[in-house]
Symmetry: C2
């Protein structure tokens, strides 16, 4: 049975979010072994019907009496989301934001560990940040290939973003997480996700102005 139902970006994001909530439930000694869709809904701000539909999408089933088994659901999400082996991530740009990101993601326990960083500043090259060595940007494509990196994170100034992206792409990267406030040109085969903080802040400012309703669930 060919698994086809086109998987949307939104579904993947929500599954990631559910899993984090499930892990929190697992660590909570006061919580039971099961959750209801409306409980997950309350924890995430997502509607209960959509929670159920998302769980359906990964072919997991609950029990109308008890709800969903927390540990099993978390595992099912993992089986669906996680690649067979952790994907190695490279980071371009070790400014304030880049350092924040390695601190977030560098831990090897992570499902997507940052294993190499790059910058053009000679005072950073050769140093280690949160256990992650900084290479010179000139070595980007070479190190990406050598380390088997499949995902690149761009935390460089806007003017440098396309160049850094090109380096990653040339080295055969498959996905890019872009924090630079510019559009990154990339082949169809490379998935690009943009996080534009300036845009987000301007959005909040706009809706903060008048009686707008509550925002989105993530």
């Amino acid at each position: 049975m060919p698994e086809n139902n086109s998987i949307s970006k939104h579904l993947v994001g929500r599954l990631s979010f559910y899993r984090r909530m499930l892990e929190r439930i697992r660590l909570d000694p006061a919580a039971g072994e099961f959750v209801f869709s409306h409980e997950l809904a309350a924890m995430t701000g997502i509607g209960p019907a959509l929670v159920r539909r998302d769980i359906m999408a990964i072919h997991f089933s609950g029990n109308p009496r008890r709800g969903y088994h927390v540990a099993e659901l978390a595992e099912a999400i993992g089986a669906f989301l996680d690649p067979p082996s952790p994907q190695r991530v490279g980071l371009a740009g070790l400014g304030n934001l880049g350092r924040a990101l390695v601190a977030f993601f560098a831990k090897p326990a992570s499902r997507a560990p940052i294993v190499a960083a790059f910058d053009i500043d000679p005072s950073l090259v050769g140093r280690t940040f949160s256990g992650c060595l900084c290479h010179h940007a000139d070595a980007l494509a070479r190190v990406v290939r050598a380390e088997g990196i499949r995902v690149g994170v761009l935390a460089v100034p806007p003017a440098a973003a396309q160049d850094a992206a090109d380096g990653f792409i040339e080295a055969g990267i498959r996905g890019i997480l872009n924090f630079a406030p510019v559009f990154i040109e990339a082949p169809e085969s490379v998935y690009v996700h943009n996080i534009d903080m300036t845009m987000s802040l301007e959005q909040v400012v706009y809706f903060a102005r008048d009686e707008a309703g509550n925002g989105d669930a993530p």
Copy 2:
């Protein structure tokens, strides 16, 4: 004439993006005084028809011969997006991410300057980061009121996020930009926008795995 056409979050985000591109064009001596929708489309990764529709939405008009007047369009977007006076922003959490954010947004020239920061770490309180004074988190609601802050940014650990949000809300904030990977409960009257980096990275990792298409425009 009651301006009503419900304005979507997406539209606001794209307008913010267009404006940044227009400003870049203005600084480019090689660029002309006008742009076509397909040129803005190429710079942003957004479809040309949608660009035109977005411009329509703010009641700006182009000229079929020349395109859109760059300076005038930028001004029209500003008139639509920007509040009468710059909205003051407060930041909770001065870890790596918080420091990156003040560096981004603290400059008073910004349309949304961060004017105060908060943390519980005594070694940070009283110090100044990128020109922005760090107060103790206990003073959050008081300082937010005193400074006339209308928008709050959450860059605190997940466990502290709801508390910080409650402080902002109690002080009458109108919008929240949340970087913590949790759902923030807030009244209808407060707009909440979530940026969940872990989720975003997991999305990229998922789609990087196989032959997925290109991602979104921001």
